[in-house]
């Protein structure tokens, strides 16, 4: 898989994007992290996260203008989280200021900072951290500028002092008090000489009028210094400016001033390092988040009030307010998909894992099972704000694995053998309607309906022959979906070519499918053919006369391969209404329906997970389900859900019992398909075909049959083992039970069978298999 494509796909997943509060905050405080820490009663971590980006935590914890709240999703429901109050309780747990002793190598460049307000002080600290020698000119005898205008009860003076100790102790920062700077004769030094003496200058002199200072910088019509919003550069390339000078008296924002100090320090560093001033700076300051968060269903809840506004939140209040936070994240796909939830992460990581798995040359491919377990149903794409489809990625990965011979044989071999049966001579049939040498339409029932409910296949065909003039051909076979899902491109194309040539033989008739997957495959991969569903034919030509059943309340589970077939969804519902049933919809239906565990061959690659998928789906509604895919039916019924196939309601007798009846096992499916073909030949075309009989007679008690199916062992393989053992005499005997034990490897799997001769046949007790080959 190509690196660029990987990046593009990874980028579609926004789960790791910072939430709106963090991106709205000009210095990107990790509010979600702080909230999480408070929830865990871990105020130390809360403070650490805050202090990581806010150089003056004590001050900001009291006076922050909370730009973050503009990005709070909670606002869409009630009101934004009281972020500053939460920060304050973290800071209130802060001890005395400690001297930090970081060993930094001094750079030769000196930078002047003019103005000791929040932006200038931040710029000074940031530049000092990078090793620049900073001279800070302050007009008054104290640092903090307009902070001192804040009422004392809101901002205790001690906090200002404590936060500024770090500046006074900093060996890289020299503070010169009582020195207002301008280009007036009284100014010593003059602004121009500072510009000449220092490598760069930061101007943070507050919102006062600047024209009278004669700084010689370009100003706009309102007399404000012209400042580039991205770099904070003025018309003088060495001079940068920000804070209230930029924001104005009305736009004052302490946290934005701090951010300006940081941005200017970055610009100055770039300037002095001769780097681009503008490259990759779109994520400095406030920016809109890319994170999607669904707030549907979240109950409104007012912000928690402080019982003592002077003291701020107590821990109980802080915890309550922290719990109000949604903890913004996306996970839209993970919420609706059992598979994505199963691996406990999210697509951004999964995409990377898939890619890494494909890149391994020597070593263990840990993600094989994950790649092979996806149902490829595409629900993730539907719910993802950016349309990321994990199925596409998994399918592509499977194709690559197959090409490289790295596909684990145990994943799909059994399913592919099933497909081989359905594309083989025992099932394939392609004929015009008797008495016709043309076909206007051709019925393609598919392998699963024929394997699961062969009786309906014949009834549908008879119906079509009666209703439609011009000849209705019959084509038995498999659309090749298993090969497509298993990543077997060659096998798929080969089968598709066969289908195509049979379709051409019949004179390019319109293909009528009864299986949603066949429909999808033909529509997408055989675009030259006109394809339709049997359901739409029923709607157009009228339901068969026997279609009657007592009215029921039915919950529709749409087949996942039909999610974009709006017309079909309508047809299904219309038919149900016509039959007098009451319809209930699942929350995720139609376009956002889920898979029954068969899609993508999930049930072969990861049976436990497929069962969880089914379990979740069938529990979404207590009422009986209605499906129109044979596999959905069999999988739901297998796990105890009363499920009607729409054909049960149209053709069925005793549909009530039928809705609970387990589907046939894998061996029976083969048998049903073979019988389906023979019955057609006999009944419709009057051909005299003998049913193929097995050479030996097997007696398989129900319990043994269950074991075989569970272990994915076909009766035909059991027969081969016994036949081999009886012909060659190569058999063991258990002297305690008197049973024979034999083993044989017809193709890739070695089968073991425990059996005893009984009358003319053989009684099968047990069977198991393995792929390791016995040699020597």
């Amino acid at each position: 898989m190509d690196q660029n494509l990987l990046r593009q796909r990874e980028a579609k997943c926004v789960q790791e994007e910072p939430p709106g509060c963090t991106t709205a905050c000009p210095v990107h405080v990790d509010v979600r992290g702080i909230v999480d820490a408070i929830r865990k009663n871990d105020y130390k971590t809360g403070l650490l996260l805050f202090n990581k980006v806010v150089p003056f935590p004590r001050i900001i914890s009291r006076i922050c203008d909370q730009v973050c709240q503009k990005g709070c999703k909670r606002k869409e429901i009630d009101e934004a989280i009281a972020v500053n109050a939460l920060e304050r309780i973290c800071v209130d747990n802060m001890g005395e200021p400690k001297a930090s002793s970081m060993a930094i190598k001094a750079k030769k460049d000196r930078v002047a900072v003019i103005g000791g307000g929040l932006s200038g002080l931040t710029a000074a600290l940031e530049l000092a951290k990078k090793g620049y020698l900073v001279v800070l000119y302050e007009a008054t005898d104290r640092l903090g500028g307009s902070l001192w205008h804040t009422p004392e009860e809101k901002l205790p003076r001690r906090l200002i002092e404590d936060d500024f100790i770090q500046l006074k102790n900093n060996p890289f920062i020299e503070i010169i008090y009582n020195t207002p700077i301008s280009n007036d004769r009284s100014s010593n030094p003059a602004f121009d000489s500072i510009c000449a003496d220092f490598s760069a200058v930061y101007l943070g002199i507050g919102s006062k009028e600047v024209l009278s200072l004669n700084l010689g910088l370009d100003v706009d019509q309102e007399g404000k210094v012209v400042i580039d919003p991205l770099t904070l550069q003025t018309s003088h390339p060495k001079v940068f400016a920000g804070g209230s000078l930029y924001l104005g008296e009305k736009g004052k924002s302490p946290i934005t001033s701090i951010s300006h100090g940081k941005i200017a320090a970055n610009s100055i560093d770039r300037l002095l390092q001769k780097a681009s001033l503008t490259a990759n700076r779109d994520k400095e300051g406030s920016y809109p988040t890319l994170l999607y968060t669904n707030v549907k269903g979240i109950e409104p809840q007012e912000a928690v009030k402080c019982s003592d506004p002077i003291k701020g939140y107590n821990r109980e209040e802080a915890l309550k307010e922290a719990q109000r936070c949604i903890m913004c994240e996306c996970l839209e796909c993970v919420k609706v998909c059992e598979y994505l939830a199963h691996y406990r992460s999210y697509p951004k990581r999964y995409v990377r894992e898939v890619y890494n798995n494909l890149s391994i040359v020597m070593g263990i491919h840990h993600a094989n099972k994950m790649i092979n377990s996806c149902s490829l149903c595409g629900l993730c794409e539907e719910v993802c704000p950016n349309g990321l489809n994990m199925g596409e990625i998994c399918q592509e990965a499977r194709r690559i694995m197959v090409k490289r011979g790295k596909m684990p044989p145990s994943a799909y071999d059994f399913a592919l053998r099933d497909m081989a049966f359905s594309t083989g001579e025992k099932f394939v049939l392609n004929k015009h309607q008797p008495g016709f040498n043309v076909s206007r339409m051709v019925f393609f029932p598919g392998c699963q309906l024929s394997g699961s409910s062969p009786q309906y296949v014949r009834k549908i065909y008879k119906y079509l022959c009666e209703k439609i003039d011009g000849g209705v051909g019959l084509s038995l076979g498999c659309c090749g979906a298993p090969a497509d899902w298993a990543g077997q491109e060659e096998l798929f194309s080969e089968n598709l070519e066969n289908i195509k040539s049979r379709w051409l033989e019949l004179g390019k008739p319109k293909i009528i499918t009864a299986c949603p997957t066949c429909f999808k495959i033909f529509k997408e991969r055989l675009p030259q053919a006109e394809v339709d569903y049997i359901w739409r034919i029923f709607e157009q030509y009228g339901l068969p006369p026997m279609a009657k059943s007592e009215p029921r309340k039915l919950v529709i589970h749409d087949a996942c391969t039909t999610r974009h077939e709006d017309c079909l969804h309508e047809s299904i519902r219309n038919i149900l209404l016509k039959l007098g049933h009451q319809i209930e919809e699942l929350e995720n239906s139609r376009q956002t329906t889920g898979c029954c565990g068969y899609g993508g061959l999930m049930m072969f690659a990861n049976r436990e997970l497929a069962q969880q998928v089914v379990d979740r789906r069938i529990k979404e509604n207590q009422a009986d389900y209605l499906v129109y895919c044979a596999m959905c039916r069999d999988n739901f019924v297998a796990q105890g859900k009363k499920t009607y196939h729409l054909l049960d309601l149209i053709f069925g007798e005793n549909e009530q019992d039928r809705a609970r009846q387990l589907g046939p096992d894998f061996s029976q499916r083969h048998e049903n398909r073979a019988r389906c073909k023979i019955a057609f030949l006999k009944e419709i075309w009057g051909e005299n075909v003998a049913e193929e009989k097995m050479d030996i007679k097997l007696i398989i008690p129900e319990e043994a049959r269950r074991i075989l199916d569970d272990r994915r062992i076909l009766i035909e393989d059991v027969a081969k083992v016994i036949q081999y053992a009886e012909e060659t005499g190569n058999r063991l005997k258990d002297t305690l039970t008197g049973r024979y034990i034999a083993y044989f490897k017809p193709v890739a799997v070695t089968y073991w069978v425990e059996y005893s001769p009984q009358e003319e046949g053989f009684l099968v007790h047990n069977a198991y298999s393995h792929r390791l080959e016995i040699s020597g």
Partner: protein, 68 residues
């Protein structure tokens, strides 16, 4: 191995009419192979792999080799 040992006493080669005894067998899969000791007919070489072994340890080895 205890359980297997007990079992192999019960298993005889029906063709040769003799009890199976521990013997060297090579198991191979996807290009890897390794020798193991299994109940085996000393005359004709027929081996016995008990169900627990096939569905337990051998299954794990198969999966591990498939992911290599």
């Amino acid at each position: 191995m205890n359980k297997e040992n007990k079992q192999q006493i019960n298993i005889i080669c029906d063709k040769c009419g003799i009890p199976l005894t521990p013997g060297k067998v090579t198991l191979s899969y996807l290009g890897s192979s390794f020798p193991v000791e299994l109940p085996k007919c000393s005359q004709c070489g027929l081996v016995f792999i008990p169900e627990e072994l096939a569905r337990g340890k051998m299954d794990q080895v198969e999966k591990a080799l498939e992911d290599k």
